[in-house]
């Protein structure tokens, strides 16, 4: 009986301590404050070198996975490659996790209100006999670059392991095999880490949504009609009116993407496209686009116009909405 009790407690303790616990994020400032930062850059993660084992490159895997999940939250986040380029250009790539930050310099260079710093404390991948384990431990914090304030911080560890206590022999074998592919094992664990952590990070959803204002397109005009097949050399001229000082472009169906329009006067954008001999499209709408610096986009389809080219080689035309395109039931 005591033998069974011992086994029960052993399993119970292992189940509890197998690294599947929820992440704990210590929140220092609520995202309900209207001053809460909405634009964030995730800096390269550093590593804790003193006395801890860290597999080379795992901090990059964790940063990528974290970025992919963090983008779900209501922040405007800079792409990682853009951040790295900016930091390198401004000689800021070696910003320390614990020392004083060059707040102003970072803010000016990155153009964001806050940064996320991460430090990998431990990473380990081990497979031996009936035991397999992958382990990641890291801490992270969100720092307001305008005030230097830490808005939240966390310290979380994630372990994926299998051993005799794993429910089935099949699971043991399967997990041993999965664990032996080190990069894949770290990648999967980093995703688990990121997914758990992101669910606990405060989301400034309400204030972010209140600030959404897409560029307005008040009108779109073109010199083309639907009753004539376009020939090589024909020029489609498009004029778009709307919010001034933005990036404007237009599409011809899905055939021509983002043909630039130039702002000739405030809020008055114009541009053209000359039909090439290789252009073959059928029933394409002209769609105008206005994009602001945050990437918010306004779109509008031009009414009353549907463009088609004259000569359509059969094979290519089949890829682009032919007249007999089947409707999905």
């Amino acid at each position: 009986m005591s033998h069974y009790l011992f086994r029960f407690f052993l399993i119970f303790i292992l189940v509890l301590s197998n690294g599947c616990g929820a992440a704990k994020v210590i929140v220092h400032k609520s995202p309900l404050f209207s001053s809460y930062p909405l634009s964030v850059a995730i800096l390269p993660f550093t590593t804790e070198k003193d006395g801890n084992f860290i597999e080379v490159g795992t901090e990059k895997i964790l940063r990528n996975a974290f970025y992919n999940y963090f983008s779900y939250l209501s922040f405007s986040d800079l792409p990682l490659n853009k951040i790295d380029k900016i930091l390198k250009k401004n000689k800021l790539e070696n910003v320390s996790y614990s020392k004083k930050l060059p707040l102003k310099k970072l803010r000016n260079a990155l153009g964001v209100d806050a940064i996320i710093q991460g430090k990998l404390l431990n990473s380990n991948n081990f497979t031996a006999g009936i035991y397999a384990e992958t382990w990641l431990k890291a801490e992270m914090k969100l720092i307001d670059l305008r005030t230097g304030e830490t808005l939240w911080d966390l310290n979380h560890e994630e372990i994926d392991q299998s051993s005799l206590v794993t429910p089935t022999i099949v699971d043991i074998v399967r997990q041993q095999m999965a664990n032996s592919d080190t990069k894949k094992a770290y990648h999967h664990l980093a995703e688990q880490f990121a997914s758990k952590v992101v669910r606990k990070i405060p989301d400034p959803n309400q204030i972010a949504q209140n600030q959404i204002k897409t560029p307005t397109i008040s009108g779109i005009f073109a010199n083309a009609g639907s009753n004539k097949k376009l020939q090589t050399g024909d020029i489609i001229e498009v004029t778009l009116t709307g919010t001034p000082k933005l990036e404007a472009s237009f599409d011809i169906g899905s055939w021509k993407f983002s043909i630039p329009l130039k702002e000739t006067k405030a809020g008055f954008y114009t541009g053209s496209y000359s039909i090439q001999s290789r252009d073959h499209f059928q029933k394409a709408l002209i769609i105008g686009r206005l994009r602001d610096e945050l990437g918010l986009t306004g779109k509008k389809a031009l009414h009353g116009v549907m463009l088609s080219t004259a000569a359509i080689p059969v094979q290519k035309a089949n890829l682009k909405l032919p007249d007999n395109a089947k409707l999905k039931n």
Binding site: A22, S76, G219, E237, L302, M306, N318, L327
Partner: protein
Amino acid sequence: MQNLKINRQKHVPTFSILIFISSLIIWTITGCSSQKPITKISGNMTQLSKDLLVAILPVQISDSKQKEAAELFRQSLYANFERSRFKLVERYIVDGLLEQNNLLDPNELKKVSAVRLGEILGADAVLFPIMSKVERSYAVIHSSIELKASVTLTDTRTGEILWTASQTETDFEGIGKLPTGIFAAAIAPVELVTNKLNLNKIIHKLTEKLTFLIEEPGSAEEGEFFNSPQIAPNSARAIEEIATSPIQISPNQTAKIETLEPIKKNEAKNEIKEDLKEENPIIKTVKSFVYTVQVGAYKTKVYAQKMISTLASKGYSAFITPSKKDEQVLYKVNVEKFDSKEQAGQFAKQFSLRENLNHFVTKVESKTPPQSLN
């Protein structure tokens, strides 16, 4: 003794076969089972620009109990799409813009054409995710979770379905597995159905398989392409309506529009030069009022907003103008703005052919440039 030996010899193969079959069944049915996703992509997928902007819509569900799984599914879709070649409209922007347009119910989104959603969200393609099954069962020594999800990616410029996929993922614990300990056999089923992290893991696995082809469309096999372009029915209708609605006229282009022909190279150059010489003709035509088509008037604002939502889902640009009559506020619902009565009348004729709504042309104040016939 000899008989006994003979009997044992006869039984040994039967026993071995039994063990072999049992093992085979256990190995076959053990653990996380899933099929390859049923997926189809358009031939255009590999040719699309890497700057294509994709909006992942809220997940459609059939039961409010599926909400948690649906949220995890959408989060996982975002994380997996980050690895694709496309750019994403951020989730809070999608949700915020849908809310601004009174499109709060994910199940209502399928009624709105992709073309219209593209205009609302500024996206070049929209992803409609559906979580059709989230089933958890627990029977002491056996438990299971079954998830079924599907997605459809539609081009908002053409209404073409670029990619569809559906995937079922099942995981179970219990007597179907070979327990290494009696307690593990008892704990595992409980843990599987009660632990939220297991749900997350299964959803993550499902999404990873589901989105494999979107990350690497070049790896699609022959049978995974649509035989012919597939157009979403409501988008086909919306495009047809856009194409047949009255043409928008830029005042400086009136002469050209009459022929509805594109300008030839040399003519175009002269035309552009002339345009630049002139004052901006479109801005110039802004008046203190515009013409519109009024389609309703309500004492309750909510009803007017509902009407706006219905009209918006059909692709109309509708708006409310409140007015006071006998101390009572009346919320008037108007469709489109025009800078001339003739244009509004022309639109009203088209409108009456398409919609069974009483309407008339009227004048409203405008602080913004009129939208003319668009």
